[in-house]
Symmetry: C2
Subunit: 328 residues, 2 copies
Amino acid sequence: MCEQEAKQLFSAMVSELNKAEQIALCGHVMPDGDCLGAMLALGLALRQMGKKVVFYSPDPVPELYAFLPCADEIHVELEQQCQFDLFVSVDCSVPDRLGHFQVLLGRAGRVAVLDHHTGSVPFGNTYLNLPVCAATGEIVYDLLRWLPVLVDEDIATCLYVAIVTDTGSFSYDNTGSLTHLRAAELLKLGVKAAWINKRLYEEKPLVSLQVLSTVLQSLELSGCGRVAWMFMQRDTLHRLNATDEHVDGLVNYPRLIKGVELALFFREIEDGKYKVSLRSKYYLDVNKLATLFGGGGHPRAAGCVMEGNLEDVKHQLLQAALPFLKDE
Amino acid sequence: MCEQEAKQLFSAMVSELNKAEQIALCGHVMPDGDCLGAMLALGLALRQMGKKVVFYSPDPVPELYAFLPCADEIHVELEQQCQFDLFVSVDCSVPDRLGHFQVLLGRAGRVAVLDHHTGSVPFGNTYLNLPVCAATGEIVYDLLRWLPVLVDEDIATCLYVAIVTDTGSFSYDNTGSLTHLRAAELLKLGVKAAWINKRLYEEKPLVSLQVLSTVLQSLELSGCGRVAWMFMQRDTLHRLNATDEHVDGLVNYPRLIKGVELALFFREIEDGKYKVSLRSKYYLDVNKLATLFGGGGHPRAAGCVMEGNLEDVKHQLLQAALPFLKDE
């Protein structure tokens, strides 16, 4: 893309932001690093321009991201007296995913959308959705070039967190050459990347490792070696005094095994009812597989809920998975 | 550094490589991704220039790196009839770490050293050691700019593996702005980064996870929450049919815990004898701590061997660690 085309791409958003004086920024439910990082970076930049900025998140900021500059200024509840002439939906292009802040869409003078997720229907006055970007933080990074803003260390830190979390530390296939170029620039601006990575990935609650230890004991591998699974009974969380957040990501462990294409995690949520997380490594479309059981998701990460005892549920899923596995 | 200075920095090495016709490349004992990636990238480039290249490694190539282009051409044994006029020590500037290939230093017409490790004494005819680089792969990347070589996908893949492994996926504090710039260029050259990351980090032997599961059950946290440890008894490996390589990196798990600065892993190697791995997160100098028990290493990763029963050994280490921990 040439300079002229890039400027064109951002012009409507730039003009929308320039015009507004009081701006509300809001991310999606269950905010992640990209959502929060992109929102805070944009807000800090707009404040530099003299705008009045309010941050909203329909769900509380996970403690993991509390170190982000101004994370403590993010409102979870709506203040009735709050006034603004522009509402920006950040990392979110599905109104439902704004949670209870969806009501603000009707109350705002103007609405802008800034996102990189696919599959949404455009809404608002200005809609900029670039799925080619690995993170909304990448879009904000580019956007700031066209605003009268100095990208300081705080803004750069927010953008780095957005990018590093949504690319799996530059390992997912959404990571492009431009992703690394942007990271290079952010490091030059003073981002303490090593410290941030420790904050993000080496500050887990003890109970997370206790849950991991317990669940790993259930790890099994199919005869063919291409499917691996683990399970967790309902009382485990209670016994360990753990909550849902400590279970996040456990399904990635069976995927780590050599030769495994399909990883499954069965979690009992009620008597005879299992929430199943499905992950694949190179080729298997777990979205299609989960659809067979009324679930869905993405090609490499999906989920469904199944009823029956553990052995039946497992057997059903493994049988259904067989046609999806390539002969090797 | 300006272009002229950069050219100057590499000029002796460039001239050494240009002059030679038959070149032996050799890495260090227990080769890692940087050692192998840098060596293979340089060798492939030299072959493009019409040179005859032989690859040596004092220890076998770990299966993890078998996917590297030409990894199967790396010799572990010395062929007596082998002739060469230049020997290049890659990622290694301590002759001892060339293992049994150290003898080649005396048999080569010329010797060159290409490395990024600190603390060595220069040897050979041309010595290029740049500790400012995160990986020897970064030095080879820069070096290739001054050689009549087209960096193809194979060479780029080797360089990417060198860089991604020695920077902990761009997370360690050796990762600089230039590291990301080089990665950006390598991705542009066709490196399949996502696939490589899966090969490197998601193809573990099942037994590694079984060892992890067993050892995690021993996880404990000190009263102050700043020290965490795990241990492994001698029969565990035998019982799980595991080997040393399956234990690598386990000490990183206690370090993942929030608030933990010092992580310890006690591994029984003989009756009443423990090999202790020490890791720290932000500030504690584990090299100094390990030195108190006759060991050593780096400020964030060190080791020592201690005698006694597990409780005594643990108590001694924890007592010694106290003065190293900051009051919080």
